[in-house]
């Protein structure tokens, strides 16, 4: 027995040191290769000033570190938002770390946020996977004097300082119903293919869409089903197939998520039903260019996620500098986007969504 354990005492020790050194190596080279450094080094973080009271004092811009946390990494929508955020960071001369979990899952996001709070970052700009599960973590950060701004997908009010809405939920819902109405030329069956069943923004938009459909001039449209693709390409693809099989005379699929809209358009194309079933919703130009050209998804809307990331960084910067506290009525300047005021429900509105179609899609690149 003695010989046994002595044997694996040495070997295990050696392997573990190797592992940690290896991970070290894995962490550092990513910095040069990748454009946005998802795993930035923490050594060079100078001793960030521990802000005692919630309102941060004036700080030298150079040493502010903001963490931009998307729902999950790899999603082109969030990558574009990060580009905007880095643009704002350059203008403000601060550092924005783009850190995300690999799956759109609340537990992983909480563990990530806990380690960012532990690293005493100066501000958190979060797109939440779960509005309620993140409330305790948000409160924890705020108790540590770290301002919490949510963008794209909110944490419940008690868990955040301020939320940046890409557009009013009602506005986003209305533009998608309008597009569906146009594509179905007034009447027919429509269905919704959402992201995860727990995503707060999705459920809010769907709620508004159902209300808008009651309005007189949309009586012709009949919402037959809502399915969930979990922001996974294959699941969304299968759900789209399911919709087309279950409802043979379905006319329009609305997918208010970049992953869902691309998968649905591809499903329509693969089934050879372009023109019979039309796809609309929220998508990015690069991703949808092929389907706009093929006619599977003639129109779709979105706001520029880059602007959303840009605005989120400016907002959190002003919070960190103490210019604003997130109370309704606060005003601040957001660089190229002009200035914004915090509305009375504690949110900031980016602006109305833009509709992309065949003729304007080529002058966008994100």
């Amino acid at each position: 027995m003695l010989k046994d354990t002595k044997f694996h005492l040495i070997a295990l020790l050696a392997v573990l040191v190797l592992l940690l050194a290896g991970c070290q190596a894995a962490a550092t080279p990513t910095e040069e290769a990748a454009t946005e450094p998802p795993a930035a080094e923490t050594e060079d973080v100078t001793e960030a000033p521990m802000t005692e009271e919630p309102v941060a004092t004036e700080e030298a811009a150079g040493d502010i570190v903001i963490a931009l946390v998307p729902k999950n990494l790899g999603n082109p929508y969030f990558d574009t938002a990060n580009n905007g955020a880095q643009e704002a960071a350059a203008e403000l001369g601060i550092e924005v770390q783009y850190q995300g979990s690999s799956t759109a899952d609340a537990t992983e996001q909480i563990q990530l946020l806990n380690s960012l709070i532990a690293q005493e970052v100066d501000g958190l700009a979060i797109s939440a996977n779960d509005a309620d599960a993140l409330v305790p973590t948000g409160q924890d950060a705020m108790a540590q004097g770290i301002p919490v701004v949510t963008w794209d997908s909110a944490i419940a009010p008690e868990g955040r300082d301020v939320h940046i809405n890409q557009a009013t939920a009602e506005g986003i819902a209305r533009v998608q119903i309008e597009m569906a109405h146009r594509l179905a030329d007034g009447e027919g069956q429509i269905a919704i293919l959402s992201a995860t069943s727990t995503a707060p923004n999705q459920n809010e938009w769907i709620g508004f869409m159902e209300e808008i459909l009651q309005e007189p001039d949309y009586q012709g449209l009949e919402l037959v089903d809502t399915v969930y693709g979990d922001d996974e390409d294959e699941k969304s693809y299968n759900e789209a197939l399911g919709l087309m099989t279950t409802y043979p005379d379905l006319e329009v699929i609305i997918a208010p998520t970049t992953v869902g809209i691309a998968a649905s358009a591809r499903a329509v194309q693969d089934q050879g039903r372009i023109g019979e079933v039309l796809v609309t919703g929220l998508g990015t130009p690069n991703q949808m260019r092929e389907y706009v050209k093929s006619g599977a998804a003639p129109e779709f809307a979105l706001w520029n996620p880059g602007d959303l990331g840009y605005l989120a960084v400016y907002t959190i910067y002003h919070m960190v500098q103490g210019d604003i506290t997130g109370a309704p009525g606060d005003e601040f300047d957001a660089g190229k986007l002009g200035n914004y005021t915090i509305l009375d429900d504690g949110t900031i509105l980016l602006g109305a969504p833009t509709v992309f179609d065949a003729d304007n899609i080529d002058d966008f690149d994100f």
Partner: protein, 337 residues
């Protein structure tokens, strides 16, 4: 006062027929289900819908066959989902970097990568004598972590993939989509391998009675090593087809897929205690699972019930399986006293 009762093979026949033709039971259950669902909603019984079902289960059949061979040797491979995810990502990266690459070469690349991953499992289990559940539980999280480390979190999206690669799974040269043809080809190959090669027969012998197999001169360790390499190969192939069919490679591709690859064979009559299992069983088991999931969507039962139904089905198959086995054993024990 004769002790050893006269027990000829015939009177035990009924039991062995039941075991050999268990696949008939599954076929009967599937047909019954199809009839019921078609009555509920005529949309179900269309060639188009069955094409979708077959498309959906093609990858499940390929990996289910790999899992069957592992289960026959009394093992289990929980790392299949992660192997599919890793190979899908690596091949997607390569295909995007070399758009001109012939898709079949991408398939070969995937198979080679899968073989390497499978051989690591094989080495740990066959040479390192680590129990399969622990070894593949470990490689499940290692390979999944490597997917993230490899792509640094990035996804490969459909618009980045060359058309040729996307057509690999979708092209329909012979009316039937390639994906279904690949699955059929793998099924035939595995059938021939298990029935007509020495290693194939040795797999059954090792699973049925490992000690006797050693005495009979079979190199048990080598057979077990090969089985995990084959599992890697089929997962590599599945990874490429997965990336081609869904035109994407994400860090969570095929996450949690391993459960279905065990459910299919178990439902299809593969004996969880090892030693027996047929290709037809895996195909029918997977088809039954695919039909049920498809039926649940069409009959508009909420998608949230699908997982519960799958769980119930595996439980049922296992209870029936062991009941038959136990009744057979007591029957022979009685016979030989």
């Amino acid at each position: 006062m004769v002790i050893g009762k006269e027990r000829t093979a015939t009177s035990l026949g009924l039991m062995s027929i039941l075991v050999r033709f268990r696949e008939v039971g599954i076929l009967f259950f599937t047909v019954l289900l199809i009839i019921v669902v078609s009555i509920l909603s005529p949309v179900f019984l269309t060639a188009h819908n069955f094409r979708d079902i077959l498309l959906n289960i093609s990858i499940l059949v390929i990996v289910g066959l790999a899992q069957m061979m592992v289960i026959i040797t009394r093992g289990i491979d929980l790392s299949v989902g992660s192997m599919i995810g890793l190979v899908a990502m690596m091949v997607a990266f390569t295909v995007v970097a070399f758009p001109g690459m012939n898709p079949l070469f991408a398939l070969l690349l995937g198979i080679a990568l899968g073989a390497a991953l499978g051989s690591l499992n094989g080495a740990i289990i066959a040479w390192g004598k680590v129990p399969p559940i622990i070894a593949t539980l470990g490689t499940l999280s290692i390979y999944r972590g490597l997917v993230f480390l490899y792509s640094r979190g990035d996804w490969i999206n459909s618009f980045e993939m060359p058309m040729g690669f996307r057509q690999l799974s979708k092209g329909t040269p012979l009316v039937i989509p390639n994906l279904i043809l690949f699955a059929a080809a793998v099924a035939i190959l595995v059938f021939l391998f298990l029935r007509y090669t020495q290693t194939g027969r040795d797999i059954y012998a090792v699973g049925s009675n490992p000690q006797a197999a050693t005495v009979a001169g079979i190199r048990v360790d080598q057979v077990i090593f090969i089985v995990y390499v084959i599992s890697g190969i089929l997962c590599g192939m599945a990874g490429v087809l997965w990336a081609s069919r869904f035109e994407s490679a994400q860090t969570n591709t095929a996450l949690g897929f391993e459960l279905q690859t065990v459910a299919g064979p178990v439902v299809g009559g593969v004996n969880i205690f090892g030693g027996s299992g047929t290709v037809i069983g895996v195909v029918l088991g997977s088809f039954l699972l695919g039909t049920i999931n498809n039926a649940l969507t069409i009959v508009k039962i909420s998608p949230f019930w699908q997982l519960a139904v799958q769980g119930l089905l595996i439980l049922l198959a296992v209870i029936v399986d062991s009941a038959i086995l136990r009744r057979l054993q007591t029957a022979t024990k009685q016979g030989n006293r």
